[in-house]
Structure formats: structure tokens, C-alpha cells
Amino acid sequence: MNSYDFVHLSLHAMGGEIRGKTKLQKTIYFLGVLTGRLDELGFRAHYYGPYSSEVAGAVDRLLGLGFLDSSTASGGAIDRFGFEVARYDFRLNEAGQRTAESKASKYSKEWNSLQIAAGVLKSASEQDYIRLSIAAKTLFMLGGKTATSDQLASVAEKFGWSVTAQQISNAAEYLKKLGLVEIE
């Protein structure tokens, strides 16, 4: 399964809809981590957490093939972190869902593991893209399965943009819920 199919099936596993480009990137990132396929997705360090132009390209391809619809929801304001002014929402249309179904049968093993990962992600129920970004960047920077509170504090210092100790602690809790990091 290539990164394009992974993105397609990830959208399907997440219920066919993801709101916001940042959230989409971070969701795919966590699904990549949870399914052990992260290395195939082309994520690299970015100021606001891991970002993959391969994933962005897969989204463009789904749009171009007529499998994905996008709409813009404008909140009108810029939040204090400077994330999206206009939010791009993505939804698999019927053709996209049918094609995803046939891919799910073709890659049944990978699909099962994606469904489990999506279940874990949904049950951790983090909807906010800023918190997701902080969690993704924290995980990216920690680079291991365990972390001490000193390590978490040093992550906050190197973060690039201003985050509070509380936000890092929330991120660590979230990562713990996903089973990705143990706090010592």
C-alpha cells in the first residue's frame, strides 16, 4: 500500500471527513505512528510539528480524481497561534467511499490495522488542531517511547513557538492515552 492509498483509507477510517488541513496532517501522522507505517509517509520536521508534502500531494490527487470534496469554512479571525484563517474541510464523496471500500478489501490486513488505530485516535477524542499539533511535535521531538518530566520541560524550551508547561503536559497525557509514550 502506498502513501496515497494510506491517506485514502485513513480518511475512510476516520469516518470520511476531517476538518482542517492541519488536523488532517496530524491525524495521518498519528495513524502512521499507530500502524507502524510512519516511515513510508514522508513526514519531516516543521515549525508547527511534523508535515508531509507526500500526504498533501495525496490529498490533491484524491481531489483531482474526484474522490474527495473540499469546502472552506471561514471563522474570520486568526487565533493567537496563527493557524488557519480559513479552514479547509475534506469529505470523501460517494465515489471516494466506494473506491475506499474496494481498497479496504484489497488491503484487508492494513485496513484492519488502520481501523484499530483510528479507533484509538477517536477514543482519545482530541478535536482541537492546536493541541494535536503540540502533541505531534512533542512526540516527534521526544523520539522515544518513554519520557521523564525533565525531558518534557526541555521539549517545551525548544518548541519554537510559545507553549506553556500545561500544554506540554496535556500533550503528554494525550500521547499516553494513545499508548505512544510512557511518562516516568
Binding site: 516543521h46 500531494g57 490527487r61 480524481l65 474526484g66 496563527g82 466506494r98 473506491t99
Partner: protein, 457 residues
């Protein structure tokens, strides 16, 4: 002491002597024989510029960027990487990339090499093994250059200059290709852009960003790339001529089985391969392969020389095909889909033969699918991730209202068919294309459906 040379795009190009010694080496001089835009001169007669001119321009721009960002200690490294970034290009540039991907001997590659693009492996191998380059740069500097040009390593800010959405390569090729094509689409304010670039973050982990004052320059840059893509890089004649060379190579390797052509693209990571590869350029390629003893490959290349181009008989957005075949239609260029592509070409040749009442060789009928922004380019062209150095930094995408609409215009994907037919007038052309349209779409869908059902096309 600097080496200076006049350049029509940038005025005087200056390079430190130590870097400029690279220019005199054979691998760099070979680039004088490889045109920047392959056969684009068939439609833009001025487009005869070469990878050599471009390489000098990229080194110049990269040096300017590094110094304007205060990275004086690393400027020479960036200039060396810029000078060597295209050194692995084969005849007709990107056409050779496709051929290398198709014909590389992957059984001879290490596991970690198998995921990498072959032309990048060729570039690294040239830098690792060429005695002139090694004499000038030394092993350590050569390794640093390879690391900077390769995937995922090295100081991020330096990597952004060499390869990224605002890299020196794009800055030079937009201005240069515009100049030599005689179009004004690629023009942007490079000086203002350089004034607007800044670095944010801890040393060695800095991110290249743009000052808010530079947003309009970046918009101009993004627009320039879009217009050039639409009008030059995806020009009908450019697409057809590139595909004719690709097909000629395929016929030469697979049908005519000409040993010299087979060897040219069978990359096996050996020094011997690289030595031979570095003797090829556009002129030698045409001289060797546009020859009567290669019945298929030679006659297709001869058509190119005489500008008897194949004609575009069909063009359609891939999303207008039935949903279950779209992905396969988009992947017709992949080797694993050779059988279905050949079946389509056979069927279309037969349709056109009866329509034009002439015999049409299916080997010269080409099915070609592509996106406006090719997959190959997208990884290095994603402006969405550019950050504007506000406090806190914001994405360029959210700062520029213009960007979103340009970006959306890139996502279209097409399939086209080219064939050796002719028409006397535009009216005749329209009549023929209208007549063939439905039959060709049916032929494509039917061959794809058979393939998906596991029926041998």
C-alpha cells in the same frame, strides 16, 4: 578573488575561486550539451539554453541567499551543492529520469537505495567517484554535498536553499526559462524576495521564512511558476515531444534491443556505469539512436528531428472517467501497467486506422496521463508549508488569499492520446477529435476494466 561570468538573466555571476574550479571539470562541462527544456525549442525557438547555464545561475542564487541570510561559513558548501545538483542529468533531462527509473537494475542496489530516485543516486555516485570532483573538493566536502542534496539530512536552512518551495533552483529556472522562451510569465522580484527571507529558530535548526513585507513577492513567484507550468512545462508540444523521446527509448530498449541504449539506462550503482553515462548528451543521443538501423526508435526520433510530431487526438480529465478506473488511468505510465497501456494503444490505433483510412503503427500511439503538477515535482513545490515570520509565524497559505486559488488549479489530472496522424486544417482536426473521442474513452475504460477484473488485455 572571484570568478565572474556574464549571464543574460542575472548580469554578472560571481563565484569564489575554490568553487569555480568545479566549473572546469568534465562532469560540469557535459551539461553544456543537455538542454534545460529538452525539445521545447520546437515550440519556443529560443529555448536552447542548457543545464550548464542553469547550474551557474543556481549556484549564484544559492550563494546570494546564503549570504543574505548571514550563513557566510556555509555559503561555499551551498554553492558547491548548487553547482552539482544537476550533474546526474542524462540526455533530454527529465526524459532520462523516467528511463532510469524504468530500466535501472534494482537487483544490484542496496536495500536503502531501492526507495530513492535513481537520478539522485546517479548524482551521488558521480560526486562520490569522479576523480576531478574529488581532487577539488576532497572526500569530506563531497560527502557533505551528497548529504545536502540527498533526502532528509543536513542543516534545514541550507537544505531549504538547495531543495524546497523557495529554493535557488526554482528561482533560477523560472527567470531563465522565461527569458529563453521569450515569455514574461516567470518574472518575479528576486531581489525583494531575498530581502524578505529570514531564519527563525535555534542555530542548526532554523526554518527559512519570509518577512510579512515579502508576501506579494512570494505570490508573484507562485503565480510565475503556475503560468510557466501551464504555458511552457505543460505545453502540448512539450508534452508530445517528451513522450516521443520516452517512447523512442522504450522501443529502442524493448523492441530494437540496441545494446548501447540498454546500457545507457541500466544503472547498477557501479563506477563503470557512471563513467559511460557521463559521456552522453543530447547530440550524441540523437546521433546514435535516430538511426536507420533502429527501425522503431530511430524512425520516431527522426520524426522529432524533422518536427513531424505526433498529434494529440484525445484529451480528457481523469475525473470524467468512470470511478473504478480513474486510478488505473492515472497510473498508465507505470511499468506494471504496460499490458493495459499497450492494449489501449492497440485499440486506439485500430480506431484511428479506420477513421483516417491509413495504417497506424500502435507502437507510435501513446497514452499519457499526468497531473498539472506532477507527482515528481510536488514534494519540492509545496508552498503551503512556507511560513511568514509574523509573531507567531503564520502559514503563507493563510496569509495569501491568492495562493489558495492557484493551488487548486494545480490538481487537475488528464489523460491524453498522441498518434501519427495529420489534418490539413483546424476544422478538420476538431472534426476528427470529436469523432474519435467517445471511441477512445470506451477503449480506455474497457481495457482498464478488463485489467482490474484480472482478464489479460
Amino acid at each position: 578573488m572571484t570568478f565572474q561570468v556574464r549571464d543574460p538573466v542575472h548580469g554578472f555571476i560571481g563565484l569564489p575561486r575554490a568553487v569555480a574550479r568545479l566549473v572546469e571539470t568534465r562532469p560540469l562541462q557535459r551539461l553544456r550539451g543537455i538542454r534545460q527544456l529538452a525539445m521545447a525549442s520546437l515550440v519556443y525557438p529560443g529555448a536552447l539554453h542548457t543545464r550548464f547555464d542553469h547550474t551557474l545561475g543556481v549556484a549564484h542564487v544559492a550563494g546570494l541567499m546564503a549570504r543574505s541570510l548571514g550563513m557566510h561559513d556555509d555559503a561555499e558548501l551551498v554553492e558547491c551543492a548548487a553547482l552539482l545538483h544537476d550533474i546526474g542529468h542524462g540526455p533530454f533531462s527529465h526524459v532520462s529520469e523516467y528511463a532510469l527509473e524504468r530500466y535501472a537494475d534494482r537487483t544490484k542496489l542496496h536495500a536503502e537505495q531501492k526507495k530513492e530516485k535513481i537520478h539522485e543516486l546517479v548524482t551521488a555516485k558521480v560526486i562520490q567517484t569522479d576523480s576531478e570532483l574529488l581532487d577539488i573538493l576532497g572526500r569530506v566536502r563531497c560527502d557533505e554535498v551528497i548529504q545536502l542534496l540527498g533526502p532528509g539530512q543536513g542543516r534545514p536552512a541550507l537544505r531549504s536553499i538547495v531543495s524546497g518551495p523557495l529554493d535557488a533552483d526554482k528561482q533560477d529556472y523560472l527567470l531563465r526559462d522565461s527569458y529563453f522562451c521569450g515569455v514574461q510569465y516567470g518574472v518575479f522580484d528576486i531581489h525583494q524576495m531575498h530581502r524578505s527571507l529570514c531564519l527563525e529558530g535555534a542555530r542548526d535548526e532554523e526554518e527559512l521564512m519570509i518577512d510579512p513585507d515579502g508576501i506579494h513577492t512570494i505570490e508573484q513567484f507562485v503565480l510565475a511558476k503556475y503560468y510557466l507550468t501551464r504555458n511552457v512545462y505543460r505545453h502540448k508540444v512539450r508534452l508530445i515531444s517528451d513522450q516521443m523521446i520516452v517512447r523512442a527509448i522504450m522501443l529502442g530498449v524493448e523492441v530494437d534491443q540496441y545494446p548501447e541504449l540498454v546500457e545507457l539506462y541500466a544503472f547498477d550503482d557501479s563506477e563503470a556505469f557512471v563513467k559511460k553515462y557521463l559521456t552522453w548528451d543530447d547530440a550524441r543521443f540523437m546521433q546514435a539512436f535516430a538511426a536507420p538501423h533502429l527501425p522503431k526508435c530511430g524512425s520516431l526520433l527522426q520524426r522529432l528531428i524533422e518536427r513531424r510530431l505526433l498529434k494529440r487526438v484525445f484529451t480528457r480529465k481523469v475525473r470524467d472517467f468512470r470511478e473504478d478506473v480513474r486510478e488505473l488511468v492515472m497510473a498508465l505510465g507505470k511499468k506494471e501497467n504496460d499490458a493495459v497501456r499497450a492494449a489501449i494503444e492497440m485499440e486506439v490505433a485500430s480506431l484511428l486506422s479506420s477513421q483516417f483510412k491509413m495504417e497506424i503503427d500502435p507502437a507510435f500511439v501513446i497514452a499519457h496521463s499526468f497531473s498539472v503538477r506532477s507527482v515528481r515535482e510536488s514534494s519540492r513545490n509545496d508552498e503551503a508549508g512556507i511560513l511568514v515570520a509574523t509573531s507567531p509565524p503564520r502559514t503563507f497559505e493563510s496569509e495569501s488569499t491568492l495562493f489558495a486559488s492557484i493551488n487548486e488549479a494545480y490538481i487537475d489530472q488528464y489523460v491524453q492520446m498522441y498518434a501519427p496522424v495529420a489534418w490539413p486544417t483546424a476544422a478538420e482536426k476538431n472534426k476528427h477529435c470529436r469523432h474519435a473521442k467517445e471511441g477512445i474513452q470506451e477503449a480506455i475504460e474497457s481495457a482498464c476494466l478488463k485489467s482490474l477484473a484480472g482478464v489479460k488485455p
